[in-house]
Symmetry: C2
Subunit: 311 residues, 2 copies
């Protein structure tokens, strides 16, 4: 089933997408409690009314309790390292395990939202991913489309500190258009358990990327098991697949082409990500407010400061 | 004021530490709503009863809505890079801005808790930090002590993928013993706005680290402003200072000494972090369950897979 979060008649509601209608859940349950209840319980939800899809405004399907973003596509790693890291090849450690980083769970945008980039960024990019949404007991509740917007200029610089991306990514993540429960995508599984779904990315209506989700190196089940190892995965946690290959982001193409071709995104550009079996997620790029400067680092001799305070 | 979260008479409650007693807040407010209300409102909380401190079991003072961990101490960066990254010196980009990464908000331990490390890790370490807790409108509600436990062997390997630490850090973060509201630490501010607090770390009662919090390169106010730039900081977000210098973790000392001296933590070791004006946070090290293997990466020619699915 397809579970959406939306605004209707001035209120935020949840419901099931059914053909061109929305079956609004009775009792206005929060999406978080639907996810925590698991798939079987979601199928048993009572419906209060059915409204036409065009009468609702779809919202980001959830406010994640955390976001882990993986890098499960070798082709993406190989391409993007040349343009963002200034190095070539895939590190040996990539093959060890499905590695990930945590990103900001608070800057979430939904279908149709304008997405503000840092005003100073001139290397603006999208990333086409599928996100698994954790249900109870490390199960996978469902999937949605995830655009991991990236300011490559900010990211390249800050990653020299070796802590991964921060301000290059923390301004926006888009999720949507709804959550497709895991049972509905079972027919797409291949013999090794990978979801064989076409994923495409288009900028202003022109396709720039196309890959199979099954080109990822690990299944979502392996990724969620690895995330939970010695740790906790909670219902409502988002686990991004990592960016698909073959144009799943511009930086991969910049790395391969040796130049910024296609050009970085600019204000007014419209990015549409489409995943077979899920749907489409469209956003338009804007610029945020100009920022004031960062206070200069205070440098002093720490040993001397300690000696002075001691005395 | 010092705001604690604790178990008393079988229930989880919140209250104010006052000398050797705890003034239990009336109405059992959640710590999240106290933080969201801001400091002035916290001072006006009604007290239901006062109980002796020894009758309560202190818990981690909050469940963070996210954790950003900064690296604001140059001396730490310089030392730890030699042992974890295998490189020397501080990267130029470190001086640009107070850089951070997000870590797992779900694996939180409190005062006195046993902390399970990944069983396979043989390079176990602590990190002595002070955490600011965001209040409403990017204010700082208060401070607590933060131990950013680190499995250096796991961390070194996974950071070769250049996304920062993941499984090397996501198994545990300790917070406590309580939140000291920001107003209470105003007397410790120096002329540039830094908090001039002694921070010490002891393993099994022997001091191994001692630094001034004022040796950080940016104030917490600068860090929270940078975190919020083009993005969102929510009440209940935790912002770690980064590890203090001069032995704020073992890896810094390993880098300086060229050998694992003092030795890595092992099962049964007790780590106590003490910060002037806040208190002490003590935990004992244990080992988690042994893990099963990670499924091998599936490698295939992505272009060929696309061509076959197309046809």
């Amino acid at each position: 089933m397809r579970i959406a979060r939306f605004r209707h008649a001035g209120e935020i509601k949840t419901g099931q997408i059914h053909h061109h209608g929305v079956r609004v859940f009775a009792g206005s349950p929060e999406i978080g409690s639907i996810i925590a209840g698991g798939i079987a319980e979601a199928h048993r939800r009572e419906v209060a009314q059915t409204v036409p899809l065009e009468e609702v405004q779809l919202l980001a399907p959830l406010q994640p309790s955390s976001i882990r973003d993986f890098v499960a596509f070798e082709e993406h790693v190989e391409g993007v390292r040349r343009s963002v890291d200034g190095s070539a090849g895939v590190p040996d450690a990539w093959y060890d395990a499905p590695t990930f980083y945590f990103t900001n769970p608070h800057a979430i945008y939904g279908p149709g939202d304008d997405v503000p980039f840092p005003a100073a960024s001139v290397a603006r990019d999208f990333e086409l991913e599928v996100a698994a949404i954790a249900g109870p007991d490390r199960s996978i509740f469902g999937y949605t489309i995830f655009n991991d917007w990236s300011a490559r200029d900010l990211q390249s610089r800050e990653m020299q500190v070796r802590l991964g991306p921060a301000k290059g990514k923390d301004f926006a993540s888009s999720l949507g258009p709804w959550i497709v429960t895991a049972d509905e995508l079972e027919p797409y599984r291949d013999a090794d358990g990978f979801l064989d779904l076409w994923c495409t990315a288009a900028v202003n209506g022109v396709e720039v990327g196309r890959d199979l989700l099954s080109n990822m190196g690990w299944t979502f089940e392996a990724m969620i098991a690895y995330a939970g190892r010695d740790s906790r995965v909670e219902p409502g946690d988002v686990l991004g697949s990592g960016t698909v290959g073959n144009g799943g982001c511009l930086a991969e193409l910049w790395g391969r082409n040796g130049t910024q071709d296609p050009p970085p995104l600019t204000d007014g550009d419209v990015v549409t990500l489409t995943v077979e079996g899920i749907g489409s997620l469209t956003n338009r790029i804007t610029s945020g407010a100009e920022n004031t400067g960062i206070p200069r680092v205070r440098r002093r001799d720490p040993a001397q400061a300690r000696a002075e305070r001691q005395s």
